[in-house]
Amino acid sequence: MNKQPGTRGLIFNEPQLWDKSRKGRCAVSLPIADVERCQLDASLVGESPELPQLSELDVVRHYTRLSQWNFGVDSGMYPLGSCTMKYNPKTNEVQAARQGFAGAHPLAGDEFSQGALKLMYDLEHLLGEITGYPAVTLQPAAGAHGELAGMLIIHAYHAKKGKQRSKIIIPDTAHGTNPASASLCGYESINIKSGEKGILEPAAVAAVMDEDTAGIMITNPNTLGLFEENIKEICQIVHAKGGLVYGDGANMNAIMGIVKPGHLGIDVLHLNLHKTFSTPHGGGGPGSGPVGVSEDLIPFLPIPRIEKDLTRYRFVTECPDTIGRIHTFYGHFGIMVRAYSYILSMGGRGLHRASQLAVLNANYIKESLKETLNLPYDRPCMHECVFNDKHQQVFHVTTMDMAKRLLDYGFHPPTVYFPLVVDAAFMVEPTETESKENIDQFIDAVKAIVREARETPELLKKAPLLTKVTRLDEVGAARKPCLRG
């Protein structure tokens, strides 16, 4: 067995900022005042906020130490299912930091923002080419925000048709954000179960689809990592009753250059630039959730839209059927710059190759571990595969125990207990940027842990042992919330 990456190492304790604070310190050299001081009326002025008072080195050491308590893609393999934790290229950061982008004021005017407009216009078209849609908006700020935009578009479409509908179909493999987004539009979620093969059966959709149902929200490939083979038929069933099909494109990383969702009958699709298009996840954002739509839905896209007249680009707001504005300006432009850089760096062939290798890596893990862990759906998978703890239950070892133990081996655990359709799921998405050696090491680690589950189960109950803190009292945290220092 290869030597595993997880080991002991010195890290540092670091108190909260205010414990280091000493009256009179300041980590910024303040600009010298060159104009007269003007006091506002005392009735308007408050106390100076009680922020910590630190020297520059205090601040640098504080955040350096904090960073060392974190695990990122740059630290090690991060096979978090459904999150596509691929490598975040460093050149993308350089591109986004260029003064012409980072320093641009959003209200400078079209004439003085041609570079930004051209980049956004071109990115819309690149994403349209990858997904098969004639129009894309970049405005949504995250995947869930893209879902909301998509549902608002569906809502606006039905309103325009003259009859609003009250329900939406959501399969059991959906992301939790799907029903939450739908309910923001006032739609009641109708949950349906996937079939024995882990994919949707057209009959299940036909049984609930009616003329009061706005449509269906489908993730394809789904959260079991399986391709919804009946997608075209399902789209036809929904369309026949006047409904629309919403596609959750969180898993687009499996099918670039292989399938274009826009050609399957999916009417609206959101993407996550922070998944498929390599922008950093940032410890929970900022992401970006562009939405592609079919021809009929273009009038409903959020404003402003970008248009090109010969060689000039401009923002357009006169769109009578638009759902309106969903972000203060144009969305997360800095994230768009990174994704655009990624697409240009990869090229069309590179993106196709990325999807092929993402699927190869997932299938390799599935085949390598299916004798070790229970695999509820033993079928060729897409970019991720879902196991569970069925074989370990006799030792009273759970998915959570194995996940925590993986930390000691130097791996970020997979997504656990999701999708809900698998009991105690252990959902692995390696992504294409992990090499065979890294994956072999991960496989060895899982096998070693499964052995430990049999031989020394009490060890797994205590895991992780090498991290800065051990398992945390989440119940206590929720019972007596302490949300500020």
Binding site: E56, N70, Y87, P106, G284, T328, L472, R484
Partner: protein, 444 residues
């Protein structure tokens, strides 16, 4: 391609394990009719050096490529960013992690955001701040939804017409499909929200007021709270310039129940409007209604302090359709950036920077008035103000941008048609007396 590590031998060995003959076979479960026939119509990948050239050409096509002077605010502000802020936030342990689902290896993000929550509650005088939202506009829309959901007898919310026009548009987008309405409170001749008009409004679940408002004027938030109390409705305060609260009485001390704000001024580049930072805060009573993530302090199995995501029962992954919001990813890295900025400037720095913003704005206003601009409102302001421009200014302004890279204020007419020839100016600590004197000379 340098991001793809697989050698031909790797691929062959891995395929052998799967029992498949080729990479194409991996996609056998997808019916042929569903596959695309043509390869993606996207050119070959660029080398890093070709990419640099291409991107610099695009960046240079924005006026911002040069060392320009920005006298525009309106929701996106030019402030100094100390070099330690971008330096520290680019540590990839922060940038390349995801949501801290595994707290044992995410204590950096967790303690950092807990400290962010704490510093935001200090800045705003509120009990609780969330781990962030997308931007002020979306945070404000969520606050309106909280008020509307809490009050079963009202389906309308009163919103000041001096809330950022784009934020009002977002609210409209969010509220309309849920069957709610927004009614706008008119403004007074002094460029303030009309308190008396609010008094006359019935059937509302809450009131939202921005201060400093979109015209730069400071609102009397306590007075709105008093009216909200008589009506037994929630009072929501918003702001686009977070540094104002280094100087002004904070919304909490004026009685705000909920606060939505933009945190871009706290160390985050303007970046053509995003990503910024949505700030969302509430009183203790609002805790279970707040959307999005919250970090809480707890203990580990050894009794040591640690931090976790908490109160997840409000959230979409547990509550699904009954969640307080659909938000999942927020603007975490920018929240961390703001925390680093706040720790850097500290109690002394934020006060001095805020005061300098005000001083510069007063100086610029006086200088422009001497240059022929007319004063419009007599209300106190922070770092933005409105002036009526002399004849011919629009052309001068365009020339100043293209020839000298000076952005002299923003035309208000597109937002408030009755304010023809009125411009909204902003001065921050980044403009010097010389810059302002030069501007005044140019527009004379």
């Amino acid at each position: 391609m340098r991001y793809l590590p697989h050698t031909k031998e790797d691929i062959d060995e891995m395929l052998a394990k799967t029992g498949l003959a080729s990479l194409d076979d991996l996609f056998k479960t997808i019916p042929d009719a569903l596959k695309t026939k043509a390869p993606l119509n996207i050119s070959e990948g660029l080398s890093e050096w070709d990419l640099n050239e291409h991107m610099e050409a695009l960046a240079s096509a924005n006026i911002a490529c040069k060392n320009y002077k920005c006298f525009i605010g309106a929701g996106s502000y030019d402030h100094y960013i100390p070099s330690i802020v971008p330096y520290l936030i680019s540590r990839s342990e922060f940038a390349t992690a995801y949501t801290p689902y595994q707290p044992e290896v995410s204590q950096g993000t967790l303690q950092g955001i807990y400290e962010f929550q704490t510093m935001i509650t200090e800045l705003l005088g509120m009990d609780i701040a969330t781990a962030s939202h997308y931007d002020c506009g979306t945070a404000l829309a969520e606050c309106a939804l909280i008020a509307l959901r809490k009050d079963r007898n009202a389906s309308r919310i009163a919103v000041s017409s001096l809330v950022h026009p784009h934020h009002r548009q977002i609210m409209e987008t969010y509220l309309h499909p849920a069957g709610y309405q927004m009614i706008q409170i008119p403004r007074t001749r002094e460029g303030l929200t009309d308190l008396a008009a609010l008094g006359a409004m019935e059937g509302i679940a809450g009131v939202a007021v921005q201060s400093p408002n979109f015209l730069g004027n400071i609102e009397d938030l306590s007075a709105f709270k008093a009216v909200a109390d008589t009506k037994k409705i929630l009072f929501i305060a918003s702001f686009t310039e977070s540094l104002a609260y280094g100087l002004l009485k904070n919304p909490g001390s004026c009685g705000a129940d909920l606060v939505a704000g933009e945190g871009q001024s706290l160390g985050i580049a303007k970046g053509f409007g995003g990503p910024g930072l949505g700030l969302l805060a509430g009183t203790q009573k609002m805790m279970r209604n707040l959307p999005g993530r919250l970090i809480g302090k707890t203990k580990d199995a050894n009794g040591d302090d640690g931090y976790v995501l908490t109160l997840a029962t409000r959230e979409q992954h547990i509550r699904r359709e009954k969640a307080s919001s659909n938000i999942c990813s927020n603007n975490g890295l920018n929240a961390m950036t703001a925390a680093i900025y706040l720790a850097t400037v500290g109690k002394i720095g934020i006060r001095e920077i805020a005061q300098q913003n005000h001083d510069k704005a007063v100086y610029l206003k006086t200088a422009l008035e001497k240059a022929g601009f007319e004063p419009v409102f007599d209300s106190p302001f922070f770092n933005e103000f409105v002036l009526k421009a002399p004849k011919g200014f629009a052309r001068k302004r365009a020339d100043l941008i293209s020839k000298q890279c000076i952005f002299a204020g923003m035309d208000l007419e597109p937002y408030y048609p009755e304010l023809k020839d009125h411009y909204l100016f902003c001065a921050t600590e980044t403009v010097s007396k010389n810059d302002m004197d030069q501007l005044a000379k140019e527009v004379q």
